[in-house]
């Protein structure tokens, strides 16, 4: 068996909802069945064959080739298998996913890993705003799993995030960790303004002092050697990420906040 490969024939005019194309939903379907699945695109409903060239038959391993930033909801609620995307991908990547892997060789649009519950998303590129966040009007962002971004993430990374881990190898935009309820966001590069705005609980782990400083709503708790950090770095070692190559550290400056909110969150800055 070879991977089910969906090659986009041409750039699409409207956004396409790709949520039916997951290992779970394609299980037991033949290539002919898959070709007739209707995908919502704008006000139209188009069969898969109208948009993609289809080859391969292993629905547990799906590849999107010649992908576009207009392909939304890729990996929607998937629980197993692997989806690989060659090119950019649209919004809501891996929304509600509970397991499996999504690998993007390109950039992702907004709400990547939005409200995901498990599994892993790796973006070899940049991610848009609201990575691992909650949709507007919803209170829980991601509640499990891991998101790795090799490039930069946009604004409001981890907004309302409740559990899980977001690892950003590049820079994070403004409002990183805003309204975070729990979980961990680690950033190797720079972070934008308003770091941890409205943060209730959770951990923002930084390898250097934020370029815009620490907000007034975070109080300095001093320098500490924290024993959970070696465990976290040991877990990083298992990942295909720059984080696996980081020199482990456990000595950090700890800032607690946002005291304008619950104030139980923490910024840990490497010393």
């Amino acid at each position: 068996m070879s991977a089910l490969t969906l090659t986009l024939k041409a750039e699409v005019a409207q956004r396409v909802d790709c949520s039916p194309l997951t290992p779970d939903k394609l299980a037991g379907k033949s290539a002919d069945d898959i070709a007739t699945i209707e995908l919502v695109s704008g006000r139209l409903s188009l069969p898969v064959a109208a948009l993609f060239d289809i080859s391969g038959d292993d629905v547990n391993e799906i590849q999107f080739k010649n992908s576009s930033s207009k392909l939304d909801h890729v990996g929607h609620a998937m629980s197993q298998g692997t989806i690989t995307i060659e090119g950019d991908v649209g919004a809501y990547l891996g929304q509600f996913m509970t397991g499996g892997n999504i690998i993007v060789h390109g950039d992702s649009f907004i709400y990547s890993g939005c409200e995901m519950k498990g599994g892993q998303i790796k973006i070899h590129g940049n991610a848009g705003d609201f990575v691992g966040a909650a949709r507007s009007g919803y209170k829980n962002g991601m509640t499990g799993g891991t998101i790795i971004i090799t490039g930069n993430s946009g604004e409001r990374t981890g907004d309302h995030m409740r559990r899980g881990m977001i690892l950003i190898e590049g820079n994070a935009g403004d409002y990183c960790g805003a309204r975070m309820v729990s979980g961990t966001i680690a950033v190797i590069g720079d972070v934008g303004r308003h770091l941890g705005y409205g943060m209730k609980r959770g951990t923002l782990l930084l390898t250097k002092m934020p370029q815009h400083g620490i907000g007034a709503n975070f109080n300095d708790c001093g320098a500490h050697t924290l024993s959970f950090l070696p465990l976290m770095f040991a877990a990083f070692k298992k990942l295909d990420s720059t984080f696996a190559k980081l020199e482990p550290f456990s000595r950090v400056q700890r800032y607690a906040g946002d005291i304008g909110s619950l104030g139980m969150g923490e910024l840990l800055v490497k010393l």
Binding site: G144, R163, G164, M165, S182, G183, T184, R201, T203, H224, T225, L226, S227, F228, P230, L231, M232, A234, A235, K238, M264, E266
Partner: protein, 300 residues
């Protein structure tokens, strides 16, 4: 069967099912991990009065511990999961949470869904300042304490185990019986997955089931008390002046088999020349437990 002049009795040790877990205590150095482990496994010689049987399994190299610090592995056994959970929690709270620089981890995977609390409830000591962290699929609690943070895994696994494996060393004198026990314990400590929960691993007050006093469920094993040779139906031959017992709890019957084999061999290596006369075992006619350790089969 005679090994180096020591008679191996045609009998068996009788053991019973228990529930067990392994916990790992780490600290800034081995000394402090050991201080905590000694306290954690204190007063845990017999389920009869202690509620559990526990002991240090072995010290751990930093490369063997979850947080890369020196540590100590402890095994703890009880008659059931609930009793085990209670003992683990109270001991962790009083003996590990309190000990400087320590962290507490599970050292065993149990049946899914049967885990018991390790630091799950200790977190409330944090008075709201505690922090939960999911790392590599396991939940940990960071509890602020005066020396920094106490890190503890939330749960530990529970496995079905075996308790009460034993053998008796019958010798011509008390020092000779003790020397044989010391040699046996030294050898048995090298076997993984077992503990010898009594002080120094040795029991001098082996018991039988029942008593002439109705309130007591167990009493001295008079058949092996050398001073009663002329007063009771004795198991001690005229030259035997001292009997000591080694009790073994293990994660599996095979683990206890191995420990008994090396222990008995070590005692027999001292041989009749050093006053070791017989190896026997405690059993209750097969009524107490389903696990039978036949000495001659083990030493065959």
């Amino acid at each position: 069967m005679i090994i180096n002049g020591v008679t191996i009795d045609e009998t068996f040790a009788e053991a019973f099912p228990m529930k067990g877990t392994r916990i790992i205590i780490t600290a800034q150095n081995l000394e402090w991990a050991m201080n905590s482990a000694v306290a954690f496994t204190g007063f845990a010689t017999s389920v009869i009065a202690c509620g559990c049987e526990a002991s240090i399994e072995r010290p751990l190299d930093p490369s063997e511990t979850p947080d890369g610090r020196p540590g100590v592995a402890c095994l703890i056994f009880a008659m059931g999961g609930k009793g085990l959970a209670k003992q683990v929690e109270t001991r962790a709270g009083q003996c590990v949470l309190t000990a400087p620089t320590t962290a507490l981890f599970s050292g065993i995977e149990g049946e899914e869904g049967k885990d018991i609390a390790l630091g799950k409830n200790l977190r409330f000591f944090g008075d709201g300042f505690q922090i939960s962290k999911m790392i590599d699929g396991k939940r940990y609690w960071r509890i602020p304490v005066m020396d920094g943070e106490f890190l503890t895994q939330e749960n530990t696994g529970v496995v079905s185990a075996v308790g009460g494996g034993n053998f008796l060393i019958l010798a011509e004198s008390q020092p000779q019986a003790l020397a044989a026990c010391e040699a046996a314990i030294k050898a048995m400590k090298k076997i993984p997955n077992v503990i010898m929960p009594f002080p120094g691993g040795v029991v001098r007050s082996g018991s039988k089931v029942g008593s002439k006093y109705k309130a007591l469920s167990a009493s001295t094993n008079d058949a092996f008390c050398p001073t009663l040779k002329g007063q009771t139906k004795t198991e001690c031959s005229p030259e035997v002046e001292s009997v000591m017992e080694i009790v073994i709890d293990g994660l599996t019957k095979e683990d206890i088999d191995k420990a008994m084999r090396v222990g008995i061999q070590a005692a027999c290596d001292l041989g009749a020349d050093n006053g070791i006369r017989r190896i026997s075992a405690g059993n209750y006619g097969g009524k107490l437990g389903p696990f039978h350790f036949h000495l001659r089969e083990i030493m065959a």
